[in-house]
Symmetry: C2
């Protein structure tokens, strides 16, 4: 047992507040049970465990405007333990908070809405899902352990905006096994986000079994203390203790962790004892369960009060979306970033061009912020750090947290660029998935993509990232947005303009940059659009298509073939989803065959063009991808050869296709 | 500053051991610098920081056979901080340890081999990479924070095999920011793996900047203590303190965490001070750097000793690979698992069939172990737990750790099945990538895949997993293996046989199971092979292809069309990579058009068939995938409709294709 730092219960806490809090918890608890029974699924027991915490937060402690859940002035509530959401829905309906996908369609949530929980046309999704119309939340949760990172991102944004608000995050004991919780705990301390409050609901029950002793209330108290938090242990169903603990937030020079001992299925005998997880009360038991809860309230002297309502701060409007950003000329940006020499040499790594673009973007758009995972001198995010230090946030080696914190910042109107090695972006695959569900306007940048980095070997090489991100590129996420734009610039000029495109797209983007220097392929003032491709060579024998650093080898092959009298089309696909029609048309006029070349595994460019071509049937597509597990070699060319996309192989394959 | 638990330095430690340890560290340190300079890249400074720890472990503390690194009896060394690998290569070369991809090609590593570091034909990869011929290691590392999970897996396997050995894991301070380290720390305590020792090298320097105070030696000592470890703080360059601390492992009733204060670039003045990270000493400074190191040694009284050699345990051979496993009949397996009623109803969810298959597999193969992430009552891994409790390992809500621990168990000859919701498998995307590099023989099972789970909503729906896993299905990982086999059974009988196929494939497999009950599609004794498909309907108008639970809707459409006189082929693709020729041939005889239907995002079945067809050009392929972000709805059919693959849409699309 660690030493408690709980302040003594104040004698001033009015008893009636305790009695009325119990009454509200009892009232809402019945809603929680009734709505999950109505939907035939859900988690009433986990919701009941946080009922008193939710009552205290949403009715008394939080300052927020029920009529304007979008206001940046509001205190925020991140429900990391997403499956407990019926507790929040019940409170928000009782309070009459506003729901809707935007202000135009906004209306008040009613108690009757609760009975539509989880229905296809309901705004109340199975887990927190703001994009479907519940803007009280900032991010989709339900894949566990991510909420504290969202809270950190919200708190960082508030500080940048000079807004004094608090961010409360309720976390389950079982979910605190997720390492990301501890990445976030470190970050909150590093960045002194003392307006963040983590509340652990320790009910001791997981899904399959009890929660490990490693996640007991005692253990969580010891851990949060070791992580540098101000720790308060409370009875999570004692309204006075909850209120006192929450009042500490912002008064101490540390973030506050409240370790709340809670009861799964609190107040309802039939849910206690054996583990009652993830299922509603059967219809024929519902009245009995509600009666048990009421009886529990009576024992506690629960007394219904006049209508409570949270205190509302003055509204702060979010910046208008869809502000079109224009970057200066490439030349000016290079000079601004101190890269004049690249203009002379006419070569520069795309990762460096990214850094220069980010500097320029930071100049013209104050919403742009940057996060990195201790590799900013490799991703060249350190150029942004140098010029816009107040908007650069070091996440250290914690990619999961970095992505989710970026999503939190995006929820508050920022445009976060988050970078690390492309290989390590995969650490956050599920966090990216969750950000996509949140429609988070985040921009992820993976450097050292593909195998061209050479000597470091496969543990640093991203070869599955293209397939992963491409999978989201055809998904309609509403409002004309798609799940992801996937950028693969081949040279510094296109990389520069891809950053501009990313800033102007509303929604998630991913850009791959590469380690080696790349020669300029484009005029300094070339413009790039969302069609996704450029034609670099014209020919009548074959159509070659590639992306990124790999493209340079393909151009060499095309030039060799040209010298042999075999003229080929060459296309640079810098963006997927690709408008492939023009490439197919060009291919039809050049023998009807396309050869794609990529230094990643399958599921990328080859799939993109094969899908387009196979729907027509009059263009053949052959794909060369990394077909052998990479290993270290000194040069990019050697690794290309090792995995099967060396220059000689491409030449051989292209020649065989031309000869048919 | 936390209270130290370091035992006092014993007066019995012979001084000569200290002097000779310094001498060995000095000797090896020069190798580290020379090999990285020779390769033109690498991390000599991080390697020097662990030089004394490596000397103590590899020359004195560890019991292992230099001539048989494959022996299960050996103590193991997991280098989580993979970029420090030159330290291990130097020691292993000095000791003359055996390298090679198998015993047939084994030979002793020599000091001359070191100068080939990172070359394409070298067995010494840039980061630990056992599959390329360095079997002293059990898993590829270099993507940080994963080593302790490998160590846990190795320790669990040793316990199962009744082998008393120790597993040492060296972790960087910066990398301990990765949440997975703390997932592993919890697991080691939960499972009382007191033969695991974590050694944190705290040199205070990251890549881009200093390590956060949250990862200082003091902080790591406080954290590991809070996580329930026995903590010892030492000077990581004091041979006597290192030896004393390592001697504690196995003598206390906790796992031991050694917090070692180390110096990045130890002993070499030119690497101290400013952060010297991830780069070799320039050629023209190499002699000077080596001289500085020698001088450091002289100040410490370093004295070269007679050749040291580690103590060798008696060899324990690994189980023969490629033991063919045969499961009993489906009927017998159902009865064994208490699922007779399913035989009568002729329907069962594929996830339940998975559980039954795992029970049967556990009966016939003792190498099979099972891990789950607190959802075993959803994945039905709890059926294995019930029947084979000693081989079931609860990982709690920590998917990253689960996958890497499984890889660790596989390295010791086990066949681990690791399960969670398919959505949460993405938490471990990079860990899966690393396991693929290790050629780990792990089987990952994701339940509730696709959108058919309905009411829980998108935070529980796996829609990118097919693209991710398919990307690895065409990669040659050597020895006739491929990166991944991706199984998507549609009914319980095929699910049962897919588990058998997974057990018999050497290498990573992923299987998607589904939440809803699925009717039997196959004879109880149907057999399934690696060709990957079954034809369920024959027709001459159109060819429909699907997988998993989605297939049942496609069959309904085919039957509706058949009633309209439109006979369609229907193929069930239960495995990728798919041998697509037969499907293409059938399509050619049926109007030349294929329609694929999937309830996941793009990059799966549609890509697989489009790529095959586009290479030929005489078959058209159209794909229906989830094209809209899913949300909650009560039934699978409603979500199918919401995302664009509802029965009516499929019928409409199929009809339009038939009508041309």
């Amino acid at each position: 047992m660690t030493q408690l730092e709980t302040p003594p219960i104040s004698e001033e806490t009015p008893l009636t507040d305790v009695q009325t809090a119990h009454a509200k918890a009892i009232e809402l608890g019945q809603h929680m049970m009734r709505m999950t029974t109505a939907s035939g699924s859900g988690h009433p027991s986990s919701a009941l465990a946080i009922s008193h915490i939710v009552v205290q937060l949403m009715y008394r402690t939080m300052r927020y405007d029920l009529n304007d859940p979008w206001s940046l002035a509001n205190d925020r509530f991140v429900l990391s333990i997403g499956h407990a959401v019926p507790a929040v829905y019940a409170a928000y309906a009782d309070l009459g908070g506003v729901i809707g996908t935007d202000k135009g369609s906004a209306r008040k949530l009613t108690v009757d809405d609760l009975w539509q929980l989880r229905q296809q046309d309901s705004l109340l999704d199975g887990h927190p899902n703001p994009a479907e119309g519940f803007p009280f939340f900032d991010a989709a949760t339900g894949s566990l352990g991510q909420g504290l990172s969202v809270a950190a991102g919200l708190a960082l944004s508030a500080r940048l905006d000079g807004i004094h608000k608090k961010v409360y995050c309720v976390i389950g004991d079982g979910e605190s096994r997720e390492g990301q919780v501890w990445e976030a705990a470190d970050f909150v301390v590093d960045h002194k986000l003392h307006n963040v409050c983590a509340i652990f609901s320790c009910n001791g029950h997981g899904q399959a079994d009890s929660v490990s002793l490693q996640q007991s209330a005692d253990a969580l108290a010891a851990k949060t203390k070791a992580f540098g938090w101000h720790v308060i242990e409370i009875d999570g169903h004692n309204p006075a203790e909850i209120a006192e603990a929450l009042d500490v937030v912002g008064t101490v020079d540390k973030p506050v962790a409240i370790i709340a001992r809670t009861v799964k299925g609190w107040g309802v005998d039939m849910m206690l004892g054996a583990n009652f997880h993830g299922k509603p009360i059967p219809k024929d038991k519902l009245d009995e369960a509600c009666a048990q809860l009421v009886e529990t309230g009576e024992k506690l002297g629960a007394t219904a009060a006049e209508a409570w309502s949270p205190e509302s701060p003055s509204a702060i409007n979010r910046a208008e979306a869809a502000v079109k950003v224009s970057l200066p000329s490439f030349e000016d940006a290079m000079k601004r970033a101190g890269l004049e020499s690249a203009l002379e040499k006419k070569k520069l790594a795309t990762r460096v061009a990214y850094g220069a673009a980010l500097v320029a973007l930071g100049d013209v758009d104050k919403r742009v912020v940057c996060l990195d995972g201790d590799v900013s001198n490799s991703t060249f995010a350190n150029m942004f750090q140098k010029h816009h230090a107040d908007r650069f946030f070091e996440c250290k080696i914690a990619e999961q947290h970095m992505v989710t914190a970026a999503a939190g910042m995006a929820a508050a109107g920022k445009i976060p660029f988050a970078s690390t090695f492309a290989k390590f972006v995969a650490r956050a695959a599920d966090q990216i998935d969750m950000a996509a569900i949140s429609r988070a306007n985040i921009k992820i940048v993976g450097s050292h993509s593909g195998v061209s980095l050479g000597a470091d070997g496969p543990s640093q090489m991203a070869v599955t990232d293209v397939a992963f991100f491409r999978s989201m590129t055809r998904v309609d996420t509403g409002g004309g947005r798609i799940g992801c734009h996937l950028f693969q610039p081949s040279d510094p000029i296109s990389a520069y303009r891809c950053v501009e495109l990313m800033a102007n797209v509303d929604g998630m983007c991913y850009m791959r940059t590469h380690r080696p220097d790349a020669p300029f392929l484009y005029d300094l003032n070339e413009s790039f659009g969302l069609e996704g491709f450029k034609q670099l060579r014209k020919g009548d024998k074959l159509t070659l298509v590639s992306s990124g650093y790999m493209l340079h080898t393909v151009l060499q092959v095309a030039d060799t073939l040209a010298k042999q009298g075999v003229a080929c089309n060459v296309f640079d696909v810098y963006l997927m989803p690709l408008e492939a029609d023009a490439i197919l048309a060009a291919a039809r006029s050049a023998g009807g065959t396309i050869l794609t070349v990529e230094d990643n595994y399958i599921g990328g460019l080859h799939s993109e063009l094969a899908e387009a071509a196979a729907a027509c049937g009059d263009v053949r597509v052959h794909g060369m991808t990394a077909r052998r597990m990479p290993k270290s070699a000194i040069s990019a060319a050697e690794v290309f050869t090792h995995v099967g996309v060396g220059e000689a192989y491409i030449l051989e394959k292209a020649t065989s296709l031309v000869q048919g």
